[in-house]
């Protein structure tokens, strides 16, 4: 294993490779020695009971938390552990947040413009009119339409309904055009229709990308994931294709047993 020095060839080494990741909170190990290989171009689901450490693992992968120990390699060559969230985002690893995390007073349109403007350095131009951001307006409108927010681009994001906020989260992650997209429970709290639309959306955007998603809804996992990693108490319980792990007795007792076992 291990990606070559170029690491860009689809299906070559893992695009993300974590080794021995540990994160302690005052002696409590929320993530406890996780090894994870995410194959390039795959959709990789991360499941596990509440408190298993999924979000903490995401925070370690994206720089929002510094690991107590361990390493994360992007494309086999770049160490991510120790980098800032903004640096990791610039390297092409984007994330969405489990709890909707937006700018209350900006409109969805302005959100997406900001996401698109990031790499251009336009954000530093304090002497220019903010109308300069309008050059991203077309692309922003496209992205908003893609997630079903057409016609809702111009109200303060704080006033959007919950489902629309989740959709905006997705649009923001997409706007960054990342190599690796980490989605933390993208369908949490959505109605069936929105869940279906999100599944279709992820299908549509996975081309040329790698998607890692934390997901409690086993329907979503079954229809999207190539591989599934089951976390429990901060450790990897088992890893494999959904069809294999769903029948594993350990998984059923640890997780599927207490909620979506029927699926």
């Amino acid at each position: 294993m291990g990606g070559g020095p170029t690491g860009g060839r689809p299906g070559s080494g893992p695009v993300l490779r974590a080794r021995g990741l540990v994160r302690e909170f005052r002696g409590f190990r929320a993530v406890d020695g996780v090894d994870l290989d995410v194959a390039e171009g795959s959709v990789h689901a991360l499941v596990g009971p509440n408190g298993a450490g999924k979000t903490t693992l995401f925070n370690l992968l994206t720089g929002f938390l510094k690991p107590t120990a361990g390493s994360v390699l992007l494309e086999g060559r770049r160490e991510l552990a120790g980098r800032s969230p903004e640096a990791i985002s610039r390297l092409g690893v984007a994330r969405s947040f489990q709890i909707t995390s937006l700018f209350a007073e900006l409109t969805p349109h302005q959100h997406v413009e900001l996401a698109l403007a990031g790499p251009t350095g336009l954000g530093w131009r304090f002497w220019r009119s903010d109308r300069a951001l309008a050059r991203f307006a077309g692309r922003a409108a496209e992205l908003l339409a893609q997630v079903g927010l057409a016609g809702h681009g111009d109200v303060p994001a704080g006033s959007l309904s919950y489902g629309r906020k989740r959709a905006l989260e997705l649009a923001l992650a997409l706007a960054l055009d990342p190599k690796v997209l980490l989605l933390d429970e993208p369908t949490a709290g959505m109605g069936v229709e929105d869940v279906d639309r999100t599944i279709e959306l992820v299908r549509g955007i996975r081309a040329g990308r790698t998607v890692v998603m934390v997901e409690h809804n086993m329907n979503v996992v079954a229809s999207l994931a190539d591989r599934v990693t089951v976390l429990q108490h901060g450790k990897v319980l088992i890893e494999g294709p959904y069809a294999e792990i769903r029948h594993d007795p350990r998984v059923i007792t640890a997780y599927l047993g207490d909620s979506d076992a029927a699926r």
Partner: protein
């Protein structure tokens, strides 16, 4: 460019701009000219602070360092450099920006009350240095007799100097407005609302905060420089923490995140202080403090913020400077509401989400 932009903000915006400019022009006819100049200087100082407090979400309690630091630097250039006063003021502003670089670098990582404390501590250090370094600063006497010639023009009459200083103030206010309504200003508002999300979008939040801090310091320095030239002296008062406190008070009075509100706050506070002082009143602090508390309790958004809120509710065109609508409660009010956000980015507090 600017006019077309204003045209977009509606007739109300242009009307307010004209009223504001007229008020600035006739002010020394209406009130004692030195007081008029004080109001203009403090108005710019307040706008500069609001750039941080209202649009970046950082409450600096050490801006006296930039106002007072620039006052000394401006004074020294005018006294010893023999430069015309505009050069001295620009030099003072540049000095304030330079001073803000290390102070900002060491403090923008902190937010909320910690940021306020650290900036206060730095400002007190500067005050201490100015007090000790008598050879240069004149210690307790400050710098006296700062000249204000300009190519032989006699500007010693405060009435005339008001019009010499006003262009600096107006240029500073225009710069603050431009910054707030720039792509940079948009990023600042996003950082104010949710720094963790701004990071996830790839924005180096601390560097943005640092630039905002430096720009704010440069504008504060401009204000402090005009003030020093206008009074003909630079004193330790300008560096003392009460100066930092006073400008914070003006911004809160006028309305955080309104940019122009600070000018109203400055007008109210400076006029009131002058009135009480000429009346020979002793406890000026008590009176201004009480009025401050009453206004904050009655009008949470400040004077301008409340007026703007009412105007919007009535469907009139908004005329504020906010990059993204009314700024509710940045700064201290954004202290963590829950000890640990469940599942969100660490460091992002409930108050930063929506």
């Amino acid at each position: 460019m600017i006019m077309s932009r204003l045209a977009r903000s509606g007739r109300g915006g242009i009307a307010l701009l004209v009223i504001g400019l007229l008020a600035a022009l006739v002010l020394p006819w209406l009130i004692y000219p030195p007081v008029a100049l004080d109001i203009a200087c403090w108005a710019l100082f307040a706008a500069a602070l609001d750039l941080l407090l209202g649009f970046t979400g950082l409450l600096s309690f050490g801006h006296a360092a930039f106002w007072g630091g620039s006052a000394y630097c401006t004074g020294l250039i005018a006294l010893h450099g023999g430069m015309p006063f505009p050069v001295a003021i620009l030099g003072g502003a540049a000095f304030a920006a330079l001073l803000a670089l290390p102070i900002g670098f060491l403090s923008v990582r902190l937010t909320g009350i910690y940021f306020a404390m650290v900036t206060l501590a730095f400002a007190q250090m500067i005050y201490f240095v100015a007090n000790q370094w008598r050879d240069v600063t004149g210690g307790e006497n400050g710098l006296q007799g700062i000249p204000r010639e300009l190519f032989g023009l006699d500007l010693y009459d405060p009435f005339f100097f008001y019009y010499a200083g006003l262009p600096f103030v107006l240029a500073g206010l225009l710069a603050a407005w431009r910054i707030v309504r720039s792509p940079f200003g948009r990023v600042l508002v996003s950082i104010r609302d949710n720094p963790a999300r701004a990071r996830a979008l790839g924005y180096p939040v601390d560097r943005y905060r640092l630039l905002a801090f430096v720009l704010s310091a440069a504008l504060s320095g401009t204000a402090g420089g005009v003030f020093a030239i206008g009074h003909g002296f630079a004193s330790l008062d300008g560096l003392y923490w009460t100066t930092s406190g006073q400008v914070v008070m003006m911004v809160i009075l006028g309305g955080i995140g309104t940019l122009w509100g600070g000018a109203i706050g400055a007008g109210v506070v400076v006029q009131l202080q002058d009135f009480l002082a000429t009346a020979g009143f002793e406890g000026i602090g008590i009176v201004t403090g009480s009025i401050f508390i009453v206004i904050v309790l009655l009008f949470r958004r400040g004077i301008w913020g409340t007026a703007r809120h009412l105007a919007r509710r009535r469907g009139l065109s908004p005329a504020g400077g906010s990059g993204g609508g009314p700024a509710g409660s940045p700064g201290l009010a954004r202290a963590p509401a829950s000890p640990r956000p469940a599942g969100g980015p660490p460091g992002a507090t409930a108050g930063e989400r929506c």
